[in-house]
């Protein structure tokens, strides 16, 4: 072996040694200079539209808001640290969400994990972060099945109103209006099946006739056959537990058929701005849907949030989930500030015990579930999505009967 080779090999070994030892030592010497949040959420695929509207836009806005004030204050180091958000695309696939969240925890070493979009993804990610003992707020998760599982996930809390809250208020509302006969159609997916499964029997118990109860497949392109049957049955209320494509389809086809029951309640998508942008305020006047919050929701920051969101994203916020997501982030921040550090166990404990003043009102988790909401049902009135249930949260009197669809 000649001298040149020996020399370059030695240099390489020294360089490697410096690299392997030096870098970790350097980062050890570095103090914590930011709080890292991470999320794996649908930036592409069928869940992307909902995820963008309800969560990703709100996450980004919150990060800007917090950093504009210098960040979150940590008492333990007497410093305000800026927030950084790492967002990965889970391509609307739950398996990918889980894998990416593990990457965020193990490789990116984030301090906190933010929820993905959709019930299935929230539950799956919740289980994983619970295993790694990260405090976690489930956001776009609505299923009574969660109630069976939450006690196995002590680090997790759920902030959104659940089927039993909204289903209950829907039944109460129909009773208030003196509705006697309803038609229920629902998408053959967990959401539709759960809601129909709760509401139909409950209506029966309360003496309201469910004269039609039919499911339809995801991606259906023509519901006029069933809507014609419903028109012939002369029901007082049309209830659809639907996803945005079917919510749009039912609205358009009911309008064409001039199917005008006194109440039209459709599900996912009603509270979303694209619904108003597609049909116009006049067409959707009187349509009810789950939610809900409005500009009149009486907690600090609501109107400001809505106005800033509209300006930043050139669209109204989501009247179903907008402030729910922001409130979840406020919960994270308030918990961190209360504990004074990023200690996961202490923060998880604070989640379960404290009350958090947020945009959606005082958030308090009992047995893992939030017990107070700005609204369960909303109704489009003159271009505004007003809260009409529960009664004590009404921002406007319900419009009953619904005016007929414009011709």
């Amino acid at each position: 072996m000649n001298d040149k080779v020996k020399y370059s090999r030695l240099t390489a070994c020294i360089a490697l040694l410096v690299f392997l030892v030096g870098i970790p030592m350097a980062s050890f010497a570095q103090t914590k200079d930011k709080i890292r949040f991470g999320t794996a959420i649908a930036l592409s695929g069928p869940y992307a539209p909902g995820a963008k509207m309800t969560q990703t836009t709100v996450y980004d806005m919150w990060v800007s808001d917090v950093n504009a004030k210098g960040g979150i204050y940590l008492k333990s180091i007497d410093k305000r640290l800026p927030v950084e958000l790492i967002t990965y695309d889970d391509k609307s696939d739950v398996g990918t969400s889980v894998k990416l969240v593990e990457k965020l925890i193990l490789e990116d070493k984030v301090d906190m994990v933010l929820a993905p979009w959709g019930t299935a993804a929230n539950v799956a990610v919740g289980s994983i972060v619970n295993k790694y003992e990260y405090p976690f707020v489930l956001i776009s998760c609505s299923s009574e099945k969660l109630r069976e599982m939450i006690h196995t996930m002590p680090y997790c809390v759920a902030i959104l109103n659940q089927p039993r809250d909204q289903g209950h208020d829907l039944v109460e509302l129909l009773k208030e209006f003196g509705i006697k006969k309803v038609a229920i159609i629902y998408v053959a997916d967990l959401h539709g099946i759960e809601f129909a499964g709760y509401t139909a029997p409950q209506l029966g118990i309360d003496g309201i006739e469910v004269s039609i109860l039919k499911s339809y497949p995801l991606g259906v392109k023509d519901l006029s056959p069933i809507l014609k049957q419903i028109k012939a049955a002369k029901v007082d209320a049309l209830i659809g537990f639907s996803y945005p494509p079917d919510t749009w389809l039912i609205t358009e086809q009911a309008k064409v058929l001039q199917l005008n029951p006194k109440v039209v309640y459709l599900s996912v998508g009603v509270a979303h701005p694209p619904y108003k942008y597609k049909f116009g305020a006049q067409t959707i006047e009187g349509v009810m849907g789950p939610g809900a919050w409005s500009l009149k929701t009486p907690y600090p920051g609501v109107r400001d949030f809505a106005e800033r969101y509209t300006k930043r994203y050139n669209s109204e916020p989501d009247w179903w989930g907008g402030i729910i997501t922001y409130s979840a982030l406020q919960v994270y921040q308030q918990a961190i500030e209360k504990v004074g550090s990023l200690d996961h166990k202490k923060i998880a404990n604070v989640f379960q015990t404290e009350t958090f003043p947020t945009m959606m009102g005082p958030v308090k988790f009992v047995d893992g579930f939030n017990i107070q909401f700005p609204g369960n049902i909303g109704q489009w009135q003159k271009g505004n999505f007003e809260v009409i249930m529960p009664k004590d949260k009404r921002t406007a009197a319900p419009e009953f009967p619904k005016p007929p669809w414009p011709k």
Binding site: A188, V220, D222, I226, W248, Q258, P274
Partner: protein, 290 residues
């Protein structure tokens, strides 16, 4: 059972069947002649839908008039993709079977590319507009005006296409290439030009179908794949490579789907796949397949 009920089923079935037929014939042209099983077919539908949506929201262009823009635009994209991608693959492939395999994989990649370009450009938001969503009463059968217009447009496009295939010289060249590529070449047909034309025409039909669906359904960058699946079923149903067969396949799917809707809406998806399975058991080559 009165006339209006019968008309309800027939017209409703023809509306969806007409759309499916357009989409299926497009795919059949691409597979039957250019031998590309184009799984990104639905993405060209999506491009047509976005083109019409953009023209309607930006300059208020009538969706029917926008067909004149969206069709040729998507045709050019399809033609260009064939001449840069598939023509090269074909020249490099040792056999037609090898080409079919590699072009299928290439079209799979194309699916993601087109989808993500649309996503970058438009964002994932769900969009839509309303056009002619009023009632038309035809002998007691009530249908949306936009759906009837879509049916009429599909029929007109189909007729024009039929005349082109059977009267125009270029149409003859396409039919020749569909029957036997080598012999057509020997008879003086400029084969790569014709293959590119077929692929482009298939894309054109998809783009036109997309423009029509944009009047009735939601528009997102991810709307294409379900249509691709229906097109594949219709093409296999009608007989691989047979253009008339795929038209019939599309019509059957639309009609049967609608009939089942009246019995129980939840069964319509099952009905599609049952028809498919039954047909493959009875006549695996498809209705008009050899």
């Amino acid at each position: 059972m009165d006339l209006s009920f019968f008309l309800d089923i027939l017209i409703g079935g023809l509306i969806m069947g007409g759309l499916y037929a357009l989409i299926a014939v497009g795919l059949s042209l691409q597979y039957g002649v250019a031998r590309v099983l184009n799984v990104s077919h639905g993405e060209f539908i999506m491009l047509g839908a976005f083109a019409t949506y953009s023209l309607y929201s930006l300059i208020g262009l009538n969706p029917i008039l926008s067909l004149v823009v969206s069709g040729p635009a998507v045709f050019l994209i399809g033609f260009f993709i064939h001449n840069t991608l598939f023509k090269r693959l074909r020249k490099l492939s040792p056999s037609i079977e090898a080409f079919e395999g590699s072009s299928l994989l290439a079209s799979f990649g194309l699916l993601f590319i087109i989808q993500n370009i649309a996503l970058l450009f438009y964002g994932p938001d769900i969009r839509g507009y309303t056009y002619l969503d009023n009632m038309v009463d035809f002998f007691g059968s009530i249908n949306a005006a936009n759906r009837l217009v879509a049916l009429l447009a599909a029929v007109v496009i189909g007729l024009v296409f039929y005349l082109f295939l059977f009267r125009a010289r270029l149409g003859k060249a396409i039919r020749a290439a569909a029957q036997d590529v080598t012999t057509a070449q020997l008879m003086g047909v400029n084969i790569y030009w014709v293959l590119g034309l077929c692929f482009g025409l298939g894309a054109l039909l998809a783009g036109l179908a997309g423009s029509l669906t944009s009047m009735m359904f939601e528009i997102t960058p991810f709307m294409g794949l379900p249509y691709t699946i229906i097109a594949i079923i219709a093409v296999v149903l009608g007989g691989l490579g047979n253009i008339l067969g795929s038209l019939i396949g599309g019509l059957i799917l639309g009609l049967i789907g609608n009939i089942v809707m009246y019995i129980h809406p939840g069964l319509s998806l099952i009905a599609y796949y049952l028809i498919f399975l039954l047909l493959l058991l009875i006549k695996p080559t498809g209705i008009l397949g050899k």
